[in-house]
């Protein structure tokens, strides 16, 4: 397969758009010139002559953002290609406005050795539509028993470590992982749930789980683990990132840690920002996730935390599953939903509704994730890679399965009316997605 991200690029002028780039505190109409895959110039409207570009993108009425980053996706390759491949997952990514994704280690085999990391990197090079940054396992086989080859994986390009869906329950081992990872400068991402307390729980524990007859997973399972990760961070001073945080009290733990100056960060998923446990009432397995959908108070607290910047990052937890994993009894179905093509409109709604400022929203999708993984992206500064997302912010559309590029269609948002549509996604100066041509 051709390498989509290298080779000759054209020069592009993006004209007349509203450029919002928190990395340089910019929110105004600007023209942007792209040359040789880089941002060549950024200047007031009309200042850059169209003759300098071989292609002009008219962006009047559009928002022009640094290419978005999603640091929490499951691309399923190698081993689970019936759910997703690097090719299909990154195609969904660019269609959703993302120019970089970081993929979790729970492939088959698990990304717990330099060889698997190298494979993912090579597959991405030959098939990906956007930048792909592998996340390595913390422990071998995600088993929580022995450290994975962290140094070797970092040498091959791993940007963070996580056992994601399989929380490291052994606190001693987690402490050692945090200590060890400091030598390689990568953060640990924690899917913070106390597995023993989760037990067989399949939805948020409370009155509703009780009346639906489904085993509850209490908020305390998350809160305990967030508190533990913070305690270990205090002990080791190693950076720890809380994935898809979902409860009000877990957020309070993070607030106190940040106030104490600890290197703790957190992310929120679009679904935890949008949906409550009430959705589970129909036993539709597209509302089954880990952590589970919580109640209204938690959703409000999470929205507020993103607005304040307490939550640093919006990330999708894009989790493709086939019908064989989802068209099952609720307690037997897999956790998770796809999210790459719905993240922007779902979270943009919070901007339209005045819950989150526009700048904070863009920050959480650009500077926040980029800083976390120490990447040189998420910015439109001159000289940096030309990763750009052009968004039609007001456009209203209805999500249909024909829009989805992911191999899997496990999303509860089919049929939803969404506002905000990706117009173009540019990766390294190349148009990776164009809504006019698809």
């Amino acid at each position: 397969m051709p390498n989509r991200l290298s080779g000759p690029t054209e020069s592009i002028l993006i004209r007349g758009g509203r450029v919002i780039d928190p990395s340089q505190n910019l929110d105004s109409e600007q023209d942007i010139l792209i040359e040789d895959g880089k941002i060549a110039a950024i200047d007031k409207p009309g200042a850059i002559p169209a003759s300098r570009a071989s292609k002009v993108i008219e962006a009047k009425g559009m928002w022009v953002l640094p290419g978005l980053l999603d640091i929490h996706v499951h691309l399923r390759e190698p081993g689970l290609e019936y759910k997703e491949t690097i090719e299909t997952g990154t195609r969904a990514a660019v269609a959703g406005g993302f120019t970089s994704v970081a993929c979790m280690a729970n492939t088959q085999p698990v990304n717990d050795t330099p060889y698997v990391t190298a494979f993912i990197r090579e597959r991405a090079k030959s098939s990906a539509h956007c930048r792909v940054f592998p996340i390595g396992a913390v422990t071998k086989g995600l088993k929580g028993e022995e450290l994975a080859e962290i140094g070797g994986m970092v040498s091959e390009g791993v940007k963070a470590l996580s056992d994601d869906g399989m929380p490291v329950m052994n606190s001693y081992l987690m402490r050692k992982a945090m200590d060890y990872s400091k030598a390689f400068g990568v953060p640990i991402i924690s899917h913070a749930e106390d597995w023993n307390l989760v037990g067989q729980g399949v939805m948020n524990e409370g009155p509703l789980s009780n009346s639906l007859g489904l085993r509850g997973n209490p908020a305390a399972a998350e809160e305990i683990m967030v508190a533990r990760e913070i305690a270990l961070c205090r002990l080791t001073k190693a950076p720890v990132h809380i994935a898809h945080i979902s409860t009000e009290i877990a957020l309070e733990h993070v607030r106190r840690a940040k106030d104490a100056g600890l290197p703790v960060t957190a992310e929120a998923s679009p679904h935890h920002l949008t949906l409550t446990e009430e959705c589970v009432g129909t036993y539709d397995t597209n509302f089954k996730m880990a952590p589970p959908l919580r109640n209204e108070k938690d959703v409000e607290a999470l929205q507020k935390a993103v607005a304040e910047g307490l939550v640093d990052v919006i990330a999708t937890d894009h989790a493709p599953h086939g019908l064989i994993d989802k068209a099952l009894e609720f307690d037997q179905a897999a956790n998770g939903i796809i999210g790459l093509q719905t993240a922007v409109p779902l979270t943009l709604k919070l901007v339209h509704d005045g819950v989150i400022s526009l700048k904070r929203w863009v920050h959480a999708l650009t500077v926040g994730p980029s800083k976390l993984l120490n990447l040189p992206y998420g910015t439109l500064q001159v000289g940096k890679a030309a990763d750009v997302t052009v968004l039609s912010p007001k456009e209203i559309w209805t999500l249909d399965s024909s829009h989805l590029f992911s191999k899997s269609h496990n999303t509860p948002f089919l049929g939803w009316k969404l506002q905000g549509r990706i117009d173009k996604t540019i990766v390294g100066g190349k148009i990776a997605y164009d809504s006019d041509t698809k």
Binding site: G206, N210, S211, G213, L214, P218, L328, D331
Partner: protein, 317 residues
């Protein structure tokens, strides 16, 4: 009524009609109309789709189907393609394609009847799904209480045992409350829901607090594996503190009755002397189960036919 999936969704008049129809049917089973057939399920195939073991419920439905002239097909997961990995939806779609007129479903996963209702066009009767609901059990218990005590409104009903993992408790609470009873639940805190008050019932951890006021005590079965999941130190300890033994039975009012959905763990939740005492109506529950299920089947599969039959025969339900 298109389906009977959850007692929570039943309206008071729907409950009352089912109980009234069951009462009418009783005269055709052993009463003055005995021997006269009720052919309301003539030509209909009802499939007992059982993914969990059951003696009472399955047999009860089977007899009810036959008494209404229907064909009962018993499907049990243990000797089916489910063992070969066929999914619930595929299994149901395949049987539906052969021409089923009603599902009677028993499944360990809560929500399975809703999944079937969504994926096939066949009416669904829930015969127990996980911890969620067992509406026909709730109906037959209500029928039995009404039969024995004359009415349900105002009666104090104590449900004793593993409430958290009990579909029987949930369906009973919904139905009995709708019929005006005052319901309390009792059990070890590990076997009560985390917030029992949301069920709209009173609760206590120790039975001694509730038994003296009870008109009805419903003892629930204790799953013997609870001990392994740290929910009980031992079955013996459950029996010692929560079992309805002769001592605790003495706390009851003279005319109180004892129910149990079966199967009874003798010596655990009920002492044999109590289970077999005159206050125990366990076998009446079983007998009434057939009548109530006949009423439910007729209502779900052939409501129009049922209404015609009632008016032809001059019954009022």
């Amino acid at each position: 009524m298109k389906h009977l999936i959850a007692a929570a969704d039943l309206k008071v008049d729907e409950i009352q009609k089912i109980l009234a129809v069951a009462k009418i049917f009783s005269s055709y089973v052993g009463g003055k109309n005995a021997g006269e057939p009720i052919a309301l399920l003539q030509g209909k195939t009802v499939v007992n789709l059982f993914f969990e073991n059951s003696t009472r419920t399955r047999t009860s439905f089977e007899i009810a189907i036959r008494r209404l002239g229907g064909g009962a097909l018993n499907f049990s997961a243990s000797n089916s393609s489910v063992q070969k990995g066929e999914t619930l939806i595929d299994t149901a779609k395949n049987i539906a394609a052969m021409g089923a007129h009603c599902w009677v479903v028993r499944h360990a996963s809560a929500g399975s009847p809703s999944v079937l209702a969504k994926n096939t066009s066949v009416p669904v009767i829930n015969a127990g799904d996980g911890f969620h609901e067992h509406p026909t059990q709730g109906l037959l218990d209500a029928y039995t209480i009404q039969e024995k005590l004359g009415k349900i409104a105002g009666k104090r009903i104590v449900i004793l045992g593993d409430i958290a993992h009990s579909r029987v408790a949930r369906s009973n609470i919904y139905i009995l409350k709708k019929l005006g009873a005052s319901v309390a639940v009792c059990g070890p805190p590990t076997l009560l829901p985390p917030n029992p008050e949301v069920l709209g019932v009173d609760f206590a951890y120790r039975p001694e607090e509730l038994l003296p006021q009870a008109d009805v005590v419903m003892a629930l079965r204790i799953q013997l594996e609870r001990q392994n999941r740290h929910q009980l130190p031992s079955i013996a300890e459950y029996s010692k503190f929560w079992g309805l033994n002769r001592e605790r039975a003495k706390l009851l009012k003279k005319d109180a009755i004892i129910l149990h959905p079966g199967p009874v763990n003798r010596g655990v939740e009920l002492d044999p002397e109590v289970a077999d005492s005159p206050t125990s109506v366990i076998l009446d529950q079983v007998a009434n189960g057939v009548l109530v299920r006949m009423a439910v089947l007729a209502t779900v599969v052939n409501e129009e036919g049922l209404n015609q039959w009632l008016s032809q025969k001059g019954h009022r339900a």
